[in-house]
């Protein structure tokens, strides 16, 4: 590490503030689901009730902690940026990921919104390249903004020649 002190600058735009609510709801529902699993045998099976309740307590506690911490942490990390030449995103919380894909290599651009995302008025933009490394996803954008971004990306992609491989 003698050479450059290079760093990645964070992408320009944050995702929508409502994404915090969306992530919290997601985490909460998973937590509730996982906590119920040990609670059920605890209710119907007297001798091991204590131990199952302990397990439920641990799972629920950890889940709640994640529910409180994760969405805020994510909100600070998740960012995106579309320039004339590339798409640049950062995502994750404990494990973080930065992705860059040049316009000329983009194959498809989709927007998608699950029921939960719709409830929060959010959308995801998925940008696919020819790589098996998986698509680049910008999740938690305001619905109108997501459509605009997708349109802009589609226009930009069409303007750049090449067969994207």
């Amino acid at each position: 590490m003698s050479n450059d002190a290079l760093r990645l600058r964070p992408p320009n735009h944050r995702v929508d503030r409502r994404a915090v609510g969306w992530w919290s709801t997601q985490a909460l529902s998973v937590t509730v689901g996982l906590t119920v699993i040990p609670v059920v045998p605890a209710l119907i099976w007297e001798p091991v009730r204590f131990w199952f309740l302990v397990v439920a307590g641990i799972v629920g506690g950890v889940g709640l902690l994640i529910t409180v911490v994760m969405p805020r942490w994510r909100y600070r990390v998740h960012r995106w940026e579309v320039t004339d030449t590339a798409v640049y995103t950062s995502s994750g919380w404990l494990w973080q990921e930065w992705r860059v894909a040049p316009m000329s290599r983009i194959q498809t651009v989709d927007t998608a919104r699950g029921p939960l995302q719709r409830a929060f008025g959010l959308s995801s933009v998925t940008v696919t390249t020819a790589s098996a490394a998986g698509p680049i996803e910008i999740s938690g954008l305001d619905h109108t903004l997501a459509t605009e971004v997708a349109d802009q990306l589609t226009d930009n992609t069409e303007a750049v020649p090449g067969d994207a491989t």
Partner: protein, 605 residues
């Protein structure tokens, strides 16, 4: 091969529906190879005319292989039923088999009639399906590889399978067209036609090089089988494993019979009983153990040599005048794989540990259109050479890439010491787990009473014909477990150092070069122009140590090639230089703060 359903799902058709589907159920004969277009009167978009079908002989090939597997078992079943005095039942197997084969043949004939293909100026098209008609069409410019394979039962009939790879993953399996089977001549013509394109400049380049090959009608020869290379075939960790596998299978069979299998054999053969055998072995350990190991080794060597012989016999790697790289190999199943030169984006120098220690290596392709379901299959399909001497493999890699200075010779930058620290941490955890396990076992050893040992011994005797394990464990003092833990710890740290030494990344004017791995060391070269994006990932530990995984994404090969645990600044500088202008707008050079730059993550919660 016996089942038609595995690769032709359109034939899994309910029996009831079949009669109406055949336009011509009465004729029993095999249709002509090139019937006129009237077979598809309903298709409006079809220009009538030249749609070649599969070779009529393919029905024979399929029938022959089904019969080869089923008739002998039917005969055996008949004989058995006669022997056990069930004459009526004995009449059943042969007619049933006959009917089954007839049914399969009939279905195969329907398939034969249904499959039509053609190659036009800019598309390859294929129609198939008996009930659910399928039409698939791929632009010829998307054709990345053509794979012509001829398993022995197909080759006898002068046929071959043609698989056309496009390198596009749309849905499952939609990226390939497969013709089963066409004549060898048709296959060769398809191969040439599909990969021929305006690539004449490649041809001139191809003929100027040729340091180790002669130019003939097939183009430049890059490599040809040297029988001495078979000596490298057994140099894998599998050599002992295969021998052990054989023994494990035998032990498993013996255990299935509750230990009676071996008892029966030893009684017939007049062998001494299990206990006597065990005593005999224990009294001559110095003789028996080496013999046992040599036996394992020999059986492994034989199996692997045979496998290598079947795979790599007739091996030839050529570059044809139009730049296409063509691989031919195989004894029973002859394979010819062609990859368009432009789509060969790099090579992998593949050195598994044992092969590396005898200075051997093999070469794999990084190419679009060779992908399979998972990385393992992709890697098997991309093999361009058998295990060969390392220097030869490097030369072959250089010849494939056509660069003056071989990208494989580029000096590689080492990764920060922190990467070694991460590996030491992992090794420490492995060692601690080993010690904990050893402690538990030693404790069990101490509290174990004679009756426990008795139980263990009884179990072992029913499974293994010559019981040795429990006895030797009982004879060893309890601290023996800790000796094993120490060995494990030493191995873990040795592995950590090795995998750190394996890490490296570098740049060639045209290629980027990545190396990693201890168990399997792969040196990957990837054309810089084939990089279609970057993915940088950091775990919490990597952020603390100022490290990152910097991965180049690409359409070729495994889709992503990664520099593991590289210093963040170092990795970004490398990526920025490899593909100028892609990453540059997103980089920043913070005010100079000396050494601490890497340890500060970009985004902190």
């Amino acid at each position: 091969m016996t089942s038609h359903e595995d690769h032709r799902p359109e034939e899994t058709v309910p029996d009831v529906a079949r009669p109406e589907t055949d336009p011509n159920p009465a004729d029993g004969h095999v249709p002509e190879p090139n019937p006129p277009g009237r077979d598809f009167p309903a298709e409006t978009d079809e220009p009538s005319g030249d749609w070649p079908g599969l070779s009529p002989l393919s029905v024979w090939a399929d029938t022959a292989i089904v019969a080869l597997f089923m008739v002998p078992s039917a005969i055996v079943a008949t004989v058995v039923l006669v022997v056990v005095d069930q004459p009526l039942w004995a009449l059943l197997p042969l007619p049933a088999t006959g009917a089954f084969i007839a049914l399969m043949t009939y279905l195969d004939m329907l398939r034969l009639r249904a499959v039509r293909y053609r190659v036009t100026a800019d598309r390859m098209e294929m129609r198939s399906g008996i009930i659910a008609k399928a039409y698939r069409s791929i632009p010829r410019e998307r054709v990345r590889s053509v794979d012509v394979a001829a398993p022995i039962h197909v080759r006898i009939f002068g046929l071959c399978t043609v698989t056309v790879g496009t390198g596009e993953k749309v849905g499952s399996g939609a990226d390939q067209l497969k013709l089963e089977f066409v004549t060898a001549e048709q296959g060769e013509r398809l191969r040439r036609e599909l990969l021929r394109r305006a690539g004449t400049d490649d041809a001139s380049r191809a003929s100027t090089e040729g340091e180790d090959g002669s130019v003939d009608e097939d183009g430049v020869e890059l490599a040809r089988l040297n029988p001495r290379w078979f000596a490298y075939a057994p140099a894998t960790t599998a050599t002992f494993g295969i021998g052990l596998g054989v023994i494990a299978a035998l032990i498993g069979a013996n255990a299935q019979s509750g230990g009676h299998g071996w008892a029966w054999i030893s009684e017939r053969a007049g062998l001494p009983g299990s206990q006597q055998m065990a005593d005999f072995v224990m009294s001559r350990l110095l003789l028996v153990i080496p013999l046992f190991l040599v036996g394992l080794l020999l059986s492994g060597v034989v199996v692997l040599l045979l496998a290598a012989l079947e795979t790599w016999w007739n091996y030839r790697l050529t570059r044809e005048p139009d730049g296409t790289v063509r691989l031919r190999r195989g004894l029973l199943t002859s394979v010819s794989l062609s990859v368009e030169g432009r789509r060969l984006n790099g090579v992998v120098l593949h050195e598994p540990f044992v092969l590396r220690s005898v200075r051997g290596a093999s070469v794999q392709a990084v190419a679009t259109g060779l992908e399979s379901g998972d990385d393992k299959k992709t890697s098997a399909k991309s093999r361009l050479s058998p295990a060969m001497p390392r220097s030869r493999a490097r030369a072959l890699g250089a010849a494939l890439m056509r660069q003056e200075q071989s990208p494989l010779d580029v000096p590689l930058a080492t990764h920060p010491r922190a990467a070694l620290r991460r590996r030491f941490t992992r090794a420490t955890f492995v060692t601690l787990a080993g010690v904990a396990l050893a402690g538990g076992l030693a404790w069990l050893h101490m509290v174990a009473t004679e009756s426990w040992w008795e139980v263990a011994r009884t179990i072992e005797e029913t499974i293994v014909p010559i019981p040795l394990v429990v006895e030797s464990v009982e004879a060893t003092p309890g601290w023996g477990w800790f000796a094993l833990a120490v060995v494990l710890g030493v191995l873990a740290f040795w592995y950590a150092v090795g995998s750190y030494r394996g890490l490296g990344h570098g740049l060639h004017p045209k290629y980027l070069v990545l190396r990693k791995g201890m168990g399997v060391r792969n040196t990957v070269t990837l054309e810089r122009s084939a990089v279609i994006g970057w993915r940088i990932t950091r775990s919490p530990f990597q952020r603390r140590l100022g490290l990152a995984d910097v991965a180049a994404t690409t359409a070729a090969g495994e889709g992503m090639y990664s520099a593991l645990d590289v210093g963040l600044g170092q990795g970004l500088a490398w990526a920025d230089e490899a593909v100028p202008e892609l990453l540059a707008p997103f980089l920043e050079r913070p005010e100079i703060t000396g050494e601490a730059e890497g340890s500060r993550p970009t985004v902190l919660p």
